[in-house]
């Protein structure tokens, strides 16, 4: 099997498949992303002639889920060794930590149920096995650990890919890619392909865009690189390599965009891209990571809107968003309560109470002329104090 790195895991997995490892019918493959968990499952299935049934979070909870793994059609046909049909099926659930990570207790119990009822082997993969919520799954599964793949192995792998794809690459270039991948084979191969695929050659110079995927790239550095990027590719690679918090970064971009694009038409266009990026981010949530690509692309477009117009400018570092910190759930509930009282007596909606009445009431309060109104609305002392303290930021 052409799976490199994590040899021990491969052996353990194959042993498990061949039932040499005892009675657990489920296995949990865990480890960092991009090190070959999914590849191994598919390679093993190919080698042993197994059919892979894939299932994700929402599938797992559907009514049909259990039937797919426990119904008569899945019965293991053992005797017909001459059949060209696959000997059996296996169930594969990728990124189960995403399912469990979603305050989604329903997800974990659905999976447990599937494991319990399944007549076929159940394979799960996770990036972060330490999530407390995965404990029920870990109890019923064999555990196989995957590790970050080492640089020499990655280099060797890249060499192989170059051979296969007829890319002439300098050793130092491959070294650089491997070093920058931080053990993630998938990203190393992606980098190789995106850098070398079109020209079929790769020099060390070409890899200069790769910034080390390390925890130290600060917000400032990322912002600087982002705004001065000369191409879409440069911007999107920078984004995918940086470890800044994406929400913070979006805010920072939002703050700096007017400085970068003084022309209103350019600004509108750039902001439109940032807004799209924000939408993708919203859709990603915590599990749809395959949409990340679109997030990067949209955001990169905002940087590349009109590259000729770039003039270096002083970056604004995002201020701490006190505003969002201030409006806690408790405060919102309090405000809603006040608006409900006003709305009820004045026959307006809560939003209208907030927008059309509270500003006036506050001014009256400031001039000590609001006592009667407060009592007419039936506001409690806590609510009165709250209103009094709502200030400008």
């Amino acid at each position: 099997m052409d799976v490199i790195g994590n040899e021990e895991a491969k052996t353990a997995f194959v042993d498990w498949l061949n039932n040499k490892r005892g009675t657990k019918k489920a296995v949990l493959l865990y480890g960092p992303p991009g090190v070959g968990k999914t590849t191994l499952v598919n390679a093993a299935a190919g080698e042993f002639g197994l059919k892979v049934i894939e299932m994700n979070a929402s599938d797992a909870r559907s009514e049909k889920a259990i039937n797919r793994v426990a119904g008569p059609a899945t019965a293991f046909v053992a005797l017909d060794t001459f059949s060209t049909e696959s000997k059996g099926s296996i169930l594969f659930m990728d990124e189960v930590d995403g399912i469990a990570g979603n305050e989604d207790r329903g997800g974990v119990s659905a999976i447990l149920k599937i494991i319990e009822n399944s007549r076929i082997p159940v394979i799960m993969a996770a990036n972060d096995p330490d999530l407390d919520k995965l404990r029920p799954l870990k109890k019923v599964s064999a555990l196989i650990r995957f590790h970050l793949v080492r640089i020499p192995l990655i280099i060797s792998l890249l060499q192989k890919v170059c051979q296969r794809e007829h890319i002439a690459a300098e050793f130092e270039a491959l070294e650089r890619i491997a070093e920058n991948s931080s053990g993630d084979v998938r990203s190393a191969i992606n980098d190789l392909q995106s850098l070398g695929e079109t020209t079929k050659t790769l020099t060390l110079q070409d890899t200069v865009m790769l910034k080390a995927r390390n925890r130290d790239i600060s917000m400032d550095e990322t912002l600087r690189g982002y705004f001065s990027a000369k191409s879409l590719l440069e911007a999107s690679m920078l984004l995918s390599r940086s470890n800044v918090d994406y929400d913070d970064f979006l805010m920072a971009v939002g703050d700096n965009l007017p400085l970068r694009y003084p022309d209103p038409a350019d600004l509108a266009k750039a902001y439109d891209f940032v807004s799209r990026a924000d939408m993708y981010k919203g859709r990603i949530g915590t599990e749809n990571w395959h949409l990340l690509r679109y997030f990067y692309n949209s955001l990169a477009e905002a940087a590349a809107t009109s590259p000729e117009s770039y003039k270096p400018f002083t970056l604004i570092s995002p201020p701490i968003r006190v505003i969002t910190l201030f409006w806690t759930k408790g405060k919102r509930t309090m405000l809603d309560g006040i608006c409900a009282k006003i709305g009820h007596l004045c026959h307006v909606s809560h939003a209208s109470a907030k927008m059309d009445f509270i500003p006036f009431i506050k001014v009256m309060m400031a001039r000590n002329k609001a006592d009667g109104v407060m009592s007419w609305f039936g506001l409690q002392p806590a609510e009165v104090e709250f209103l009094a303290n709502m200030t400008r930021f």
Binding site: D247, L250, M251, G254, L257, P258, P264, A265, L267, A268, A270, Y271, D272, V274, S275, D278, M279, K281, G282, R283, V322, I323, F326, W327, K331, R332, L335, A340, G343, L345, C346, H347, V348, S349, H350, A351, S352, K354, M355, D356, F357, I358, P359, F360, K362, V363, M364, A366, R367, K369, A370, D371, G372, V373, S375, W376, M390, T391, R392, F393
Partner: protein, 332 residues
């Protein structure tokens, strides 16, 4: 110690209780009175128009005239933007129909007033239509909205539609003076004009502004105090924010947006909704301009539901406004 009677909000204290008292709506009132002479013939009603033009007042007057002193027993007031969805609306209507005594005198129905019905989505309105149908034996609906175009056709066709237009300037001034006199506040003409300018046809805003201004100096409201109120109280922030954006003052507009979020805890959708309302009222924009801008708002209203960061979406929205403003080449 001021008594309760005196301390009430003036918008409520001086809200007309009889249809005849309603400011400046003679035609509408005449038609309605015809219905109420013979309640059995009264259909569902749809009252449409910009905010502060008397729709809620008229609905409440109808309730009073039909049911007299205990009108509250026979009237259910709902606000679509406050209910969590069509299901809660259905529940409340059902409960109300069950427990209200459905007949009072020669009025064979109870009244359900649903405010801001244009905030309901298409599917919710379809469900509403069904609710209206199943309860039509025992209830009549008075739907209130800003834009009748947002009410689906099947509902419109089942209602008698009344359109409320921006109040006449003079009528508004008269109303303000009347209130001022009752409250023993001297209101000079310039101040009254200023308030009416500011209110852009919304009588509720005007009365609130008047009451707030009277808090500045005992018994006197002059132009100076009105300016102070406008400066300090400004629900007008949203309108100002729109104007700044259209004028190309993007950074200032964005700062105001943050202010709204920070000072008043508005959510992105609430700000967008207000922008729609204020856009409507702005007299310095042509209908075509308003339509274009309304489209832009609509697009970002949708994006707010998809995105993760309100201020990104709102900033992008303001940026689009700045672009439109520059293209039109006008200042407002």
């Amino acid at each position: 110690m001021a008594t309760n009677e005196e301390s009430v909000m003036w918008v409520e204290k001086y809200r007309p209780k009889k249809l005849d008292e309603v400011v400046d709506l003679k035609d509408i009132v005449t038609s309605l009175k015809a219905f109420m002479r013979n309640p059995k013939t009264m259909p569902h009603l749809l009252l449409a128009g910009i905010p502060g033009t008397g729709k809620t007042t008229v609905a409440l007057c109808i309730a009073r005239e039909l049911f007299g002193q205990n009108w509250k027993t026979f009237t259910l007031e709902l606000n679509a933007s406050d209910e969590r969805g069509i299901d809660t609306v259905r529940e409340r209507v059902k409960d109300f129909s069950r427990y209200s005594r459905a007949a009072f005198g020669n009025v064979p129905f109870a009244l359900i007033i649903l405010d801001e019905s244009d905030q309901m989505t298409g599917p919710a309105q379809t469900a509403l239509r069904r609710i209206m149908e199943t309860s039509s034996r025992t209830s009549r609906f008075i739907l209130i909205c800003n834009q009748s175009g947002k009410i689906i056709e099947p509902i419109q066709s089942r209602c008698a539609i009344f359109r409320f237009s921006k109040l006449d300037r003079q009528a508004m001034i008269e109303q303000l003076c009347c209130i001022a006199k009752n409250e023993k506040v001297s209101l000079d003409n310039e101040a009254a004009e200023r308030i009416v300018d500011y209110a852009e046809g919304d009588l509720r805003h005007a009365i609130n502004a008047l009451q707030t201004a009277s808090a500045y100096r005992e018994g006197v409201v002059d132009e100076k105090t009105v300016s102070q109120v406008i400066g300090e109280a400004s629900p007008i922030q949203v309108q100002l924010m729109i104007r700044k954006a259209l004028n190309g003052e993007f950074v200032e507009a964005r700062k105001m947006m943050y202010d709204l979020i920070g000072s008043y805890g508005f959510s992105g959708s609430e700000i967008v909704r207000q922008m729609q309302r204020e856009l409507f009222k702005m007299s310095t924009l042509s209908p075509e301009q308003k339509a274009d801008l309304a489209d832009v708002i609509g697009e970002y209203d949708y994006r707010l539901t998809q995105g993760a960061n309100s201020d990104i979406q709102l900033s992008a929205l303001l940026a689009q406004f700045a672009k439109v403003g520059k293209a039109k080449g006008e200042t407002c």
